[in-house]
């Protein structure tokens, strides 16, 4: 291929003639993707053949997940046979009453053998942790270092009590989830390991080891859980988990891990301290006990889509090939 003829021109300096280069002449070696039938068929075939296995393995992984879901918010505060509004009122007044014992016992049956680690989640529905007012109501600077406890910007209306800053400030911390679960199997307590449920990065960098809760939940209304003022924030893993605000109004958060296997049909007794008030806004509370696989929790959606897309691709490819052969035959 000829190239750079122009550069050999002696008068290049005086002449304004544009210097030749493949770039300036828009003659760069180019590649033009031309989708030939063969290529398209191959592409679809490959797409189909890779997607279907992915989808199937995803589906089987999802199928292997064993999970127990128990919605306990209504069950724990029976409202009798009253109409919904009345029941709502009853429950709200029940939950807002500090004096009452809020212990509630539930019995769950393990449907399949569950191998450890088994994760215990709580799930809240209709709780807009992604509301703009809520999401912004925090101050990471305060959480990170002890010297910044006065930095309560964005934390209103839970910034200070009588002029003293609340640590940790903000609505998110204020509304800390405070139901507790204790599990027992055949009256033998099943220990729930609550260590290591928060992200390591949160513990090391985002929350300070020298920041201790102050003035937290000292004033009504109490939004949720209280914090042990002796333990620095980065050790309060429940808080750390809670502070990672969820994407959607219904979300799960990790409560802890059970580090023993559960057998099929075993009855598990769960003693719930039903403290958290979701009743005012009709939020639901669920306890989820689940195993995980490589895809995480149970979710068939991705697998189904993969199989569907793969199937369609394969079908298209086959249709193409048939058409192609028919045409060729003619």
């Amino acid at each position: 291929m000829p190239s750079g003829d122009g550069s050999t021109k002696p008068s290049a300096k005086t002449s304004k003639k544009p210097q030749y280069s493949r770039f300036t002449q828009q003659e760069l070696p180019a590649c033009k993707p031309i989708l030939t039938p063969g290529l398209v068929m191959a592409a679809f075939l490959i797409l189909g053949l890779t997607f279907i296995p992915i989808g199937l393995s995803h589906l089987s992984a999802s199928d292997n997940v064993v999970q127990l879901i128990d919605r306990y918010d209504e069950a724990c505060i029976p409202a009798g046979n009253s109409n919904p509004e009345e029941a709502h009122g009853k429950r709200v007044s029940y939950i807002q009453d500090d004096k009452t014992d809020k212990t509630c016992t539930r019995t769950l049956t393990v449907p399949k053998k569950m191998k450890q680690p088994i994760f215990v989640y709580y799930q809240l529905d209709e709780f807009y942790q992604n509301h703009r007012r809520y999401v912004r109501s925090r101050n990471d600077q305060q959480y990170r270092s002890a010297g910044a406890e006065r930095k309560t910007a964005n934390c209103d209306p839970e910034a200070e009590v009588n002029g003293n800053p609340i640590v940790p400030c903000g609505l998110i911390a204020w509304s800390l989830f405070n139901d507790t679960y204790s599990l027992s199997r055949n009256d033998v307590a099943l220990p729930i390991n609550k260590k290591g449920i928060a992200w390591e990065s949160d513990k090391t960098s985002r929350f300070g080891a020298d920041v201790y809760p102050k003035n937290f939940q000292t004033r009504s209304p109490i939004g949720g859980g209280k914090l042990n003022e002796k333990i620095p924030l980065n050790q309060q893993e429940d808080l750390l988990v809670w502070m990672r605000t969820a994407t959607l109004p219904s979300f799960r958060k990790l409560y802890g891990r059970i580090e023993t296997d559960l057998e099929e049909n075993e009855k598990i007794k769960v003693v719930i301290q039903n403290n958290y008030n979701t009743y005012t806004f009709s939020g639901k509370k669920k306890l989820v006990i689940s195993t995980t696989t490589w895809i995480g929790g149970k979710n068939e959606f991705l697998g189904k889509v993969y199989v569907t897309v793969g199937g369609i691709c394969l079908l298209t490819a086959i249709t193409y090939i048939i058409f192609y052969l028919v045409r060729r035959g003619n």
């Binding site: 544009p18 030939t36 209306p157 839970e158 605000t245 969820a246 109004p249």
Partner: protein, 1635 residues
């Protein structure tokens, strides 16, 4: 005194009350518009003709005014040179007006009115001979006391007039201090830069915020600063604005820095300024008004100055105004006699100049000078302007009146008004839609918010995620950022606007700007648009309308300097009935001219001309003979007439001889420069000089001619100028021997009637001349007839009496002069005729043809007269002989109306009836998808139609008629008629009329218009049109300054429009749509999420990601693609001009595409949002992680979307697209690594999860699958559009191809006949003189064959191509991807069978060359044969895949007989192998002379290619053309008429090819088989050859693979639909990228 005259005529109307103005109002208007102002090129008689015609009535009325001038004419001063100049002024002043800004304009117009009037009067005096030399005037002075009285009176009036003009400017000569005591005048420092270091920031920001888009940005950023609305972080929200502002500021700063630099250079130049009674150098910037400056020859004038004196005693200075108005000829300026004397004496001048305030009218100046109590009027002829150059004058001294920014040059350098591209206008319409979407989305959010608040009203106080009430002390019970539901709703509305702000793609504006910058870079750098003759590149002066180039429907072209070179060249002459049309060859004339002629030529060498003409040797011989014999005398007179009968002024400069070789002549060499108003006359005089009749001196009373060394002094007794009635010009000359002759030249129509007809010889000559004239004019040459007559003394007496009487007459002078002329212009002896070529610029006809094929209408607007316009129209193939010419030249409104109506009635231009008559093929063309049809579509198609049965129409209209038509309601009629004609030629149009015509089209259609011109008279049209293109030609910079694009040659327009225009349009169109898509997909994604957050305008994405999305993550690929992507290669685009129609149909950007894109966007955003959402439903994922997933997904999605739409991948595209994705990841990682952000660490957790990757993986193919299967409307519409276009193209082409083939072949026949004749006439042994002409003839024959061959083969290839197209199946374009073509096997290796079927055997007596390069590859003995059989194959078997073989065997010994058996055909590319053709040319002559065998067959083998179509349908046809002759047999085997598809290319390149025949073919050694690499034409010199070669080469390469599915199947694309339309295009493009 001479300078008084303009004042005289100007002052007359000024002093007159306004009523006079009204009286002449109507006629004046005619003048201003009807006067052809295109002066540079047209001959003086054209100008005069026009004036006389237009001003006739006016003239009579105002005759009186010019009476004093007439007196002077008696003196016999016949110089007319300055006479025409005022016309120029008038035209210029007229065209300057539209450029003025409103304020300026107002004033100018009021002035202009008066000035115009002045000029009208001035023009009246024009036809009079006017003394040019003040010397003559001086001598006149005493005799004209009456006149001077009158002058005085008039100048008084003028003086009175000046104070009327409020606040005149006072300049004290040589007293700058006093002049500037009030500091009101600016110094001479110029500043074109906008900013200084200090003002840069505020001023630049101020200018930038003039843009609406930036204000929107600013408003959004400001909104975001309000606490309740703070959606983004405060600094973050400012980022995009700052980014955009910075980029623009840097760009502006750089531009300004360059301006600063050039200003500095300009300001620091030095000039001689009178300081302390001595001229000392001073910097330009320090020069002040009032100072006296001395300019030497060839220096540039630093400011506007009134001339005080020059080196010439009469005060003349010549200046070149190239920089100002672009005219290359010299203009004369005068210093007032009063001052000139003083200056020459060397004493200091003091005085006061009063003049008008600075204005931009470069053709006007008014002022007076007070010298020692005496008032002297000053006018335009006394002022020299900044930027001009002093020429031919040793020095000039002047006083500065305007300096620096006040100079007319600076005032005129204002930027042309900013134009806005059509696409951008449409884009704004869609932006409006986007705003509607935006607002409705915001409304949804607001309403949702409102409802949600209402529902949760009771709980808002305590709702953990809302908490609107404080419970702390002091603030208890107070609301926390809650302002009540209505206000909250409104706030939510506002904040959603902030969140969705990029729905309106603000970044698009800056992206477009950058893309256009890049496109301009490539346009400027295009070597195909570089003009080597003027050393000028393409220039983009406007950066806003690149894409408009792709949608041009009308091209309005100037003629002179644009289509033609504005170089008149004497081409041919017919003298005494004999035609001299020697076409000089490269070999030079020396060998054909004998010694005598040499001498003669040496004689004329004494005079060195600017332009050399190679004279006809035969004619030179004739001229060298003694002055004896009718023919010789006629020739003598002929050239005398050429030299004498004109108004050209020779400017003689002596220079010492450069080399000793010519010292034999003994004297120094004198170079002559002919200055004349008319290039025609200059050409004729130059021609006369070339033949030894050199005009070297002209004074008022005599001329001096050097006739072959003999110096003749001829007294000029009288001169009848050219006028439109007589159409001729004559001079009465007294020879030294006292014989008196009338020398006449004129148009043939007016000349033949006044020839003498008493001699039978005359008849013969006149017939011969007439036939020559026809021949010349059919070639598009301008012709003039030359005649002469001897005058007897009686006749002379009579004439002199009448002439004197007529020229002093006060009334009806022109009629009297005409009568006088008629007295002597009769009984003329015809001497001959001349033919002058107004040289067309290179490539003009081809360019026009291509533009026409592209559906662009080319209108020519010229100041030339009708005949010239038509002849140029013919020569540049605008007009074709089969066209019906509608000529409109009416002199009144009614006449015009009648002519228009007649034409309409005759050619039934009625859109309704036209539509009915659309033939079948046009219907094909109409099959564009319905959504494509814009309002202008039907009109376009009627316009394309030729009236059935009548052939195409051409409208020729003259400026005079346009005056009536453009101002009256006839406009509509004209528009209807004009749009239904294929060609419109407007002749004799004034600059403003040009603009008027452009406006006519612009105002009545939506079509884009482009105006192209080179002169100052085109400025108005260039500014009026949507796109203005300036030609950097000889007429200087005026047009270029006003233009949007400037280039060196007209032919670049083809490339500019067809290639760059197409690309730019397609790129920008896509860019806009993609930007809409890109931003909308993002915004919709945010919107869906907001529905999940209780309408609280939360964004899952981090602030930075949202901001960086359009600035960093996705911006670069769009820019790169917008600059670099090409849908089709430039070769394809040039080959199929019809593809340009894509722009006409608005294929790349239209409403439906927008809606399709939006629908696509909607769907994509749904997938994009919901796949991750559903995947992570009810999981522990936090908002930032999912946000980061969405971020990366949307970035990948839009980049892949872009990637799928890219037509051509180059490495930059790869870098940009994949680089962007990587950069996005990088940014996300960085952002997630900063602990201060809440999203800290998210990405590290995400990447560990396979589901994350799976969902990203899923999103893209899921969407792309849909895109592949259901090709979007973009491709569907493109598909249908180009298919129909191609079909229409083909059917038309076929017909014309056949015509062309027939034409070519018959031409070949003619030439062959000539050859036969020639060979017969001369005996075989005759001289070598035959060789050259014979060679020429042979090459002509060859040429015709090659032409017809290539046409045929192109046609065949094309028709194949069409038939290969899969049937069009309505709009279901999905069809084509389901119907792949029947696969055909690669048949390589199977050619043996094919070969056997194509065997030819030839028995010859001797071994002969058949014109092919053979390579022997074997030899074997055959049973029962004495001699071995030799096997040959084509040399190009491997490099070009040529499969031809032959076997040669001697079958008899005595006489020897060889049998040659050919197998297969040559597919190698030696159709035009120069070696072959030369070889055969030699053969002819050799055969004739040496061989006994007269009938030896010579075979020219034009092997082309085998068919590249299916094997089952062999298209091979063998055509044999035999030219039998006694001595020459041309046996032309056209083996296969299926080769090169580029008929147009062949035709165009032929010229170059011929000249390059000598060159060896470029050796290309490629050994690939399936895909061939065509050499790109990088080098201009060999490009044409290579290009040509490459065409058959490609196909040759393909022929073995002709049935190869690999390549063929490429054409059946499923995704890039457009590709399968033009299989050829694919081939081309395929090569392109494979290389």
């Amino acid at each position: 005194m001479s300078s008084d005259k303009p004042l005289l005529s100007q002052s007359e109307p000024i002093s007159a009350p306004n009523t006079q103005l009204h009286n002449h109002d109507s006629s004046l208007r005619i003048c201003s518009l009807g006067c052809p102002c295109h002066i540079e090129s047209i001959t003086s008689w054209v100008a005069d003709e026009a004036q006389q015609c237009n001003l006739h009535d006016l003239k009579e009325e105002l005759e009186e005014n010019s009476a004093p001038v007439e007196d002077k004419a008696v003196s016999g001063d016949l110089l007319v040179r300055p006479a025409v100049k005022p016309v120029r002024k008038e035209s210029r002043s007229a065209e300057l007006h539209p450029k003025c800004p409103p304020v300026e304009r107002k004033r100018l117009v009021s002035w202009g009115g008066v000035m115009d009037l002045g000029h009208k009067v001035l023009e009246v005096s024009l036809p009079l001979p006017r003394p040019a030399s003040p010397r003559v005037q001086d001598s006149d002075k005493p005799q004209t006391s009456r006149r001077s009285e009158r002058f005085h009176q008039i100048s008084m009036q003028l003086e009175e007039n000046i104070p009327h003009h409020d606040n005149p400017r006072l300049i004290h000569i040589n007293d700058p201090k006093k002049t500037n005591d009030k500091f009101e005048f600016s110094g001479n420092e110029i500043r074109t830069s906008k900013y200084t270091l200090l003002t840069f920031l505020p001023k630049n920001l101020f200018i930038q915020f003039h843009r609406f888009a930036y204000l929107y940005f600013l408003a959004i950023a400001a909104l975001n600063q309000l606490p309740p609305l703070a959606v983004f972080g405060r600094t973050v929200s400012l980022f995009p604005l700052l980014f955009v502002l910075t980029v623009t500021a840097v760009k502006d700063g750089y531009e300004d820095w360059r301006r600063h630099r050039s200003d500095r250079n300009e300001n620091n130049r030095e000039a001689l300024v009178l300081q302390l009674d001595e001229f000392r150098p001073k910097r330009w910037k320090d020069i002040l008004p009032g100072e006296v400056v001395k300019i030497s020859s060839d220096e540039t004038i630093p400011c506007d100055m009134v001339l005080l004196g020059t080196s010439d005693p009469s005060g003349i200075a010549y200046i070149q105004t190239m920089n100002l108005d672009g005219e290359s000829n010299l203009k004369t300026r005068y210093a007032r006699q009063e001052t000139n004397k003083v200056v020459l004496e060397g004493t200091a001048i003091s005085g006061v100049i009063k003049c008008e305030q600075p204005n931009r009218n470069i053709y006007e100046f008014m002022g007076n000078m007070e010298l020692k109590g005496q008032r002297v009027p000053l006018s335009q002829s006394n002022i020299i302007l900044r930027g001009c150059q002093l020429k031919n004058t040793d020095w000039a001294v002047g006083v500065v009146v305007y300096a620096g920014q006040d100079t007319k040059a600076m005032l005129n350098s204002a930027m042309s008004p900013a134009k806005r591209s059509r696409l951008e206008t449409y884009m704004n319409r869609e932006t409006l839609w986007l705003s509607t979407f935006l607002l409705s989305m915001c409304l949804v959010v607001a309403i949702g918010m409102c409802l949600w608040l209402k529902r949760n009203k009771t709980q808002l106080d305590t709702l953990p995620y809302y908490r609107k009430v404080y419970f702390q002390k002091g603030k208890e019970g107070k609301n926390y950022t809650f302002y009540g539901i209505p206000l909250e709703t409104f706030i939510s509305f506002l904040s959603s606007i902030i969140v969705f702000q990029i729905m309106i793609p603000i970044s698009l504006y800056i992206t477009m700007e950058l893309v256009r910058l890049g496109q301009s870079y490539f346009m400027i750098g295009d070597r195909h648009m570089y003009d080597s003759s003027s050393n000028s590149r393409f220039q983009c002066r406007s950066l806003n309308i690149n894409e408009d180039l792709g949608q041009i429907r009308y091209v309005f072209s100037d003629k002179t300097g644009t289509l033609t070179e504005n170089k008149m060249e004497f081409r041919k002459a017919s003298i005494w009935g004999k035609n001299y049309d020697y076409v000089y060859s490269v070999a030079g004339s020396s060998q054909y001219t004998d010694a005598a002629v040499e001498d003669a030529m040496a004689g004329r060498r004494k005079w060195k001309l600017k332009s050399e003409i190679t004279p006809d040797p035969e004619l030179m011989k004739l001229l060298y003979k003694d002055l004896y014999g009718e023919e010789r005398i006629a020739a003598h007179d002929f050239f005398l007439t050429l030299a004498a009968c004109n108004t050209v002024i020779p400017i003689v400069t002596e220079s010492p001889l450069l080399s000793g070789s010519e010292s034999s002549l003994g004297d120094s060499q004198i170079s002559i420069d002919y200055q004349g108003e008319s290039p025609d006359e200059q050409a004729l005089v130059a021609a006369a000089s070339a033949y030894g009749y050199t005009l070297f001196e002209r004074t008022s009373g005599h001329i001096m001619i050097d006739a072959n060394g003999e110096k003749l002094r001829l007294d000029v007794l009288g001169l009848h100028e050219f006028d439109s009635v007589r159409k001729r010009m004559s001079v009465v000359i007294r020879f030294p021997d006292n014989t008196i002759k009338v020398l006449v030249k004129g148009a043939d129509t007016s000349m033949f009637s006044i020839l003498k007809k008493d001699h039978p010889d005359d008849d013969r000559i006149s017939h011969a001349t007439q036939s020559h004239l026809n021949e010349y004019s059919s070639e598009g040459l301008r012709t003039l007839v030359i005649a002469s007559r001897d005058l007897t003394s009686e006749e002379l007496m009579e004439w002199q009496h009448m002439y004197e009487d007529a020229s002093t007459s006060l009334t009806e002078r022109s009629i009297k002069l005409r009568q006088t002329a008629a007295l002597i212009e009769c009984n003329l002896t015809l001497l001959g005729a001349t033919a002058i070529e107004d040289k067309l610029q290179e490539g003009v006809p081809e360019a026009i043809e291509s533009l026409r094929q592209a559906g662009i209408k080319v209108w020519v607007l010229t100041g030339d007269k009708q005949e010239t316009a038509i002849s140029i129209g013919l020569s540049c193939r605008l007009l074709t002989p089969d066209m019906h010419q509608i000529i409109i030249n009416g002199n009144s409104e009614n006449e015009c109306r009648k002519l228009l109506c007649d034409a309409k009635a005759k050619y039934l231009v009625n859109s309704a009836s036209c539509v009915e008559k659309i033939t079948e093929r046009e219907k094909d063309e109409l099959q564009v998808p319905s959504q494509m049809k814009s309002s202008n579509m039907p009109q376009h198609y009627t316009a394309q139609n030729d009236v059935p049965g009548l052939g195409p129409l051409a409208l020729i209209i003259d400026g005079n008629s346009l005056v009536y038509i453009l101002e009256k309601d006839l406009e509509t009629e004209l528009f209807d008629l004009a749009t239904s004609c294929r060609v419109v030629l407007c002749c004799r149009v004034a600059p403003l009329q040009k603009a008027g015509i452009v406006d006519l089209i612009k105002g009545r259609t939506d079509d884009m218009t482009l105006a192209i011109g080179d002169g100052a008279n085109d400025v108005s049209m260039i500014q009026m049109a949507d796109v203005g293109v300036g030609i950097c030609g000889q007429e200087g910079r005026q047009a270029v300054m006003a233009s949007d694009f400037a280039m060196g040659q007209f032919r670049f327009l083809k490339r500019l429009l067809l290639v760059h225009g197409h690309w730019n349009y397609q790129r920008i169109g896509y860019l806009v749509l993609y930007n809409f898509y890109r931003n909308a997909v993002f915004v919709l994604m945010l919107f869906w999420y907001i529905l999940y957050t209780a309408f609280s305008t939360t964004s899952a994405l981090t602030d930075w990601s949202s901001v960086l999305y359009s600035v960093v993550y996705t911006s670069l690929p769009t820019i790169v693609v917008g600059i670099l992507d090409k849908d089709l290669s430039h070769k394809t685009l040039l080959k199929y001009p019809k593809l340009y129609a894509a722009g006409h149909r608005q294929e790349s950007y239209n409403m439906s595409l927008f809606w399709i894109t939006m629908a696509d966007t909607f769907w994509q955003s749904l997938v994009l949002f919901f796949v991750p959402l559903l995947t992570y439903r009810e999981s522990t994922i936090d908002i930032w992680s999912l946000g980061s997933l969405w971020t990366i997904a949307v970035v990948i999605l839009v980049n892949v979307h872009l990637a799928m739409d890219i037509q051509r991948w180059v490495y930059l595209t790869h870098i940009a697209i994949w680089g962007s994705i990587i950069v996005t990841y990088g940014c996300i990682v960085v952002l997630d690594s900063i602990p201060a952000f809440p999203n800290y660490g998210a990405i590290y957790h995400l990447v560990k999860s396979p589901v994350y990757w799976l969902s990203i993986l899923l999103i893209t193919p899921l969407l792309k699958y849909v895109q592949i299967c259901l090709p979007s409307g973009i491709q569907a519409s493109k598909l249908i559009g180009s298919r129909s276009c191609l079909l229409a193209c083909e059917t038309r082409k076929q017909y014309s191809d056949w015509q062309r083939v027939i034409g070519e072949l018959s031409r070949g026949r003619e030439v062959a006949d000539q050859l036969r004749l020639m060979l017969r006439q001369s005996p075989i042994d005759s001289s070598a003189t035959l060789v050259l002409p014979a060679q020429g003839l042979v090459s002509k024959i060859l040429e015709t064959f090659t032409h017809s061959l290539s046409i045929l083969s192109a046609a065949a290839a094309d028709s194949d191509e069409v038939s290969q197209l899969p049937p069009l199946k309505s709009e279901d374009s999905g069809e084509s991807c389901k119907t792949p073509p029947p696969p055909t096997k690669d048949r390589r290796g199977c050619y043996k069978r094919r070969r056997s079927s194509e065997t030819r055997t030839k028995d010859t007596a001797s071994l002969f060359e058949d014109g092919h390069a053979w390579r022997k590859y074997g030899q074997k003995d055959i049973l029962n044969a004495k001699h071995p059989r030799n096997y040959f194959r084509c040399t190009h078997k491997y490099d070009q895949g040529c499969q031809a073989t032959k076997q040669v065997q001697k079958i008899e010994d005595d006489p020897p007989l060889f049998r040659t058996t050919y197998h297969g055909h040559h597919t190698c590319k030696n159709l035009f192998n120069p070696i072959i053709s030369h070889h055969h040319i030699n053969n002819i002559t050799m055969d004739d002379n040496d061989n006994d065998n007269d009938n030896s067959p010579i075979m020219w083998s034009f092997a082309t290619t085998t068919s590249h179509s299916d094997v089952s349908h062999p298209k091979s046809t063998t055509t044999c053309v035999l030219i039998n002759d006694s001595s020459c047999t041309a046996d032309v085997h056209i083996n296969n008429a299926d080769a090169d598809a580029d008929a147009g290319g062949v035709k165009q390149e032929n010229k170059e090819l011929e000249s390059q025949m000598i060159k060896p073919p470029p050796s290309s050694s490629s050994s690939s088989h399936d895909y061939f690499v065509c050499p790109d034409d990088h080098d201009d010199e060999t490009s044409s050859l290579k290009k040509f070669k490459s065409a058959p080469y490609e196909l040759g390469a393909f022929s073995p693979a002709g049935s190869n599915s690999d390549v063929y199947s490429c054409t059946e694309s499923t995704h890039s639909m457009e590709m399968d339309i033009i299989s050829m295009a694919v081939f081309d493009d395929f090569f392109d990228f494979k290389s």
